[in-house]
């Protein structure tokens, strides 16, 4: 590898190794600071067997088997009886539940989107919704969120007080309605609900101030301030 012109004096390998160790130590220190200052590990008290999540390698067992591509699909147009479903059921087997009357329960998250025809809500039925509660109140990491979009009549949406988001646990509501692979409003994989009942009220959940983190940040500001001043002083002298 060519370097600059003039006399070259390669750095001894030992010194290079020491330098690399030093760099790794610096980066390791940043990682270590992060590990030390993380949120406390508070137990959620929920048994492990209730928290098993889906794996993309798991076999999908749909009520109606999927035909080969190109073959006519016998899409279920639904019976009048209500079926309890999860978001995994609906996304794994959308053809099986298309047009089916379903019952779905989840936490309201994000925002209520008021339209002329009703209110769009996002209902999450993942483990954070009803079982272990939202992060960062604990350190039980169970993956991403899972949920379904639901169109609610405006008057049914009025019972929603809390919408899940930062430091807020949303209301958990149970809806009944028809699942559509493609809704009449052209949205994909949503439930058009005609009944809804509040099962658990939401609430703000506090994120207590981590004093050790504030102290560490203050010390880091002093350090960086010192480095900036030192660098400026030396730069003026150059």
């Amino acid at each position: 590898m060519n370097t600059l012109g003039g006399h070259r004096k390669p750095v001894e390998r030992v010194k290079v190794l020491l330098g690399a160790v030093g760099l790794l130590a610096l980066l390791g220190a940043v990682v270590g600071i992060g590990q030390v200052l993380r949120h406390p590990d508070r137990p959620t008290g929920v048994p492990e067997e209730q928290l098993e999540g889906a794996d993309p390698r798991d076999d999908i067992n749909c009520p109606d088997p999927l035909p080969r591509e190109g073959e006519p699909r016998d899409v279920n147009r639904g019976s009048s009886s209500v079926v309890d479903v999860s978001s995994n059921n609906l996304y794994d087997c959308p053809q099986s539940y298309d047009g089916q009357r379903v019952r779905f329960r989840g936490e309201v998250v994000g925002a209520l989107l008021h339209r002329e025809t009703g209110v769009w809500i996002q209902l999450n039925d993942d483990v954070y919704a009803e079982l272990i509660g939202p992060l960062p109140a604990h350190r039980d990491y169970r993956g991403g969120n899972a949920g379904v979009g639901v169109m609610l009549p405006t008057q049914l949406a009025e019972q929603i007080d809390f919408v899940g988001g930062p430091q807020t646990r949303g209301d958990v509501i149970e809806v009944e309605g028809t699942f559509h692979r493609v809704d009449p409003s052209d949205e994909v994989a949503v439930i058009r609900a005609d009944t809804a009942r509040l099962t658990t009220s939401g609430e703000p959940f506090p994120d207590p101030v981590q004093t050790d983190r504030l102290v560490a940040a203050f010390l880091a500001v002093l350090l960086s301030g010192g480095m900036v001043v030192a660098e400026r002083v030396v730069a003026r002298q150059r």
């Binding site: 004096k9 992060g34 994000g110 989107l113 996002q122 991403g144 660098e231």
Partner: protein, 501 residues
Amino acid sequence: MLFRPDRRDFTLIGFYTGKVIFGIGLAMCVPAVMALVLGEYNDFASFLLGASLAIAVGRASELFLFTKEPLSTSHGLATVALSWTVAPIFAGLPLLLSGHYASYLDAYFEAMSGFATIGLSLANDLDHMSRSVNMWRHLMQFIGGQGIIVVVLTIFASAGGRIGYLYTGEGREEKILPNVIRTSRFIWRVALSYAVMGTTALWLSLLHAGLDPAGALYHGANLFMAAFDTGGFATQSSSVAFYRSSLVEIVLLPIMTAGGFSFALHYQLWMGRRNELARNIETRTIAASMLVMFAIMVVGLGRTGTFTDVGVMMRHSFFQLVSAHTTTGLATVPGRMYVTDWGVLAPAVLVSAMGLGGMAGSTAGGIKAMRVGLILKGLVRDVRKVLLPEDAIVVETFHSSTRRLLTDTQVRAAATVLLLWLVLYLGGGLIGLFYGYELQLALFESTAAASSGGLSVGLVRPDLEWPLKIVYIAQMMIGRLEFIAVFALLGYVLAIVRGRV
């Protein structure tokens, strides 16, 4: 023959890497202010901590490694690769401290995904994430899309042309203006102009979708950064589907497309040369590719019977195709349903679109339309040579800002890099197969990671095997830097071990 690096080599690389880390530290002050204003005090402390450490390291390199020596190409490339390796460690610190990432590896993955504008996420419980941390995820895309080095070039312009080699090390070959500093500032001017227009348009469309004004601004600004920088992060786990709004999608389409355009093309358009759109080899290649792929996608979705209404099928399939081809990764359909409800042909089109990618010198990833266009032109020229008399001279040209002669060297270089990309896609796919994932899933996710496509079928998730996380991180970085910078850094390592004195 490799020579062992000397002290000046290490000083140069360390000095300029320190500048990049300093820049990242300054950027972290933005979400720090936001966290303070919103009362997210733990996140405020996290950003203050991360910013201070990065600034301290940056100033330390200025203090102890100061040099006025000029950069060579190899120094620039190695600096870029080292910067991209180190920056996510500092950028990932506030992510880890947010409480939404299971490990530092996950936080590092997220930061790399942000800077490389991939859009794959390992966030746990995104829907309860604080706004400042969510904004930092999107800001990383904005910074990374323009180029971390471009940020440095813009801020530290006094270093002048000496740092020009950093610009090309970050996968940018075209200098739009004679001076790289002016080029970098032009890139920022375009980005900020689009930011104002795009955020305003999104804000209005999100108001129409039912959000309140403050929420619409927050979502709009973040959506813009995700779309223009073809990043694909979203503030909600359901991505663009959350808004249930065709108007929002319509506004996003030109923003994503603008992100897929090269900044050289933006310059031509900025100067009023609109006919460049029709004459440019890359726009022509992408237009042809989109046409063919859209047709195949429509056939595929028609066979599966996923959509019964043509208009609805057009809406969702076209959005997904543009999102994939520009390597943005925003979605209006749950990712799992690509596998369970879109058959085989349509997802294959999405994988191909991500793999091909956008224009060279844009925020998009993938093989790039320029290379595909050059190879196709080369093929046409070779066919003509065969058909014409032996002593005929065949000349092929292409248009990219100006008319240029097509040379064997260009075609060969394009083909070589295309081969490297295919190896990258297939390599990641093979490792996915090793862990028991189906071919369709493994290849989809590998291509998404390497091409910065970002659409996901659910394979990338927080409980993904850690070796696969490392593989995808490597793919993201190699894909974003387009191989050469990474090879340069590895070359320095090899030179240390085996180089001659």
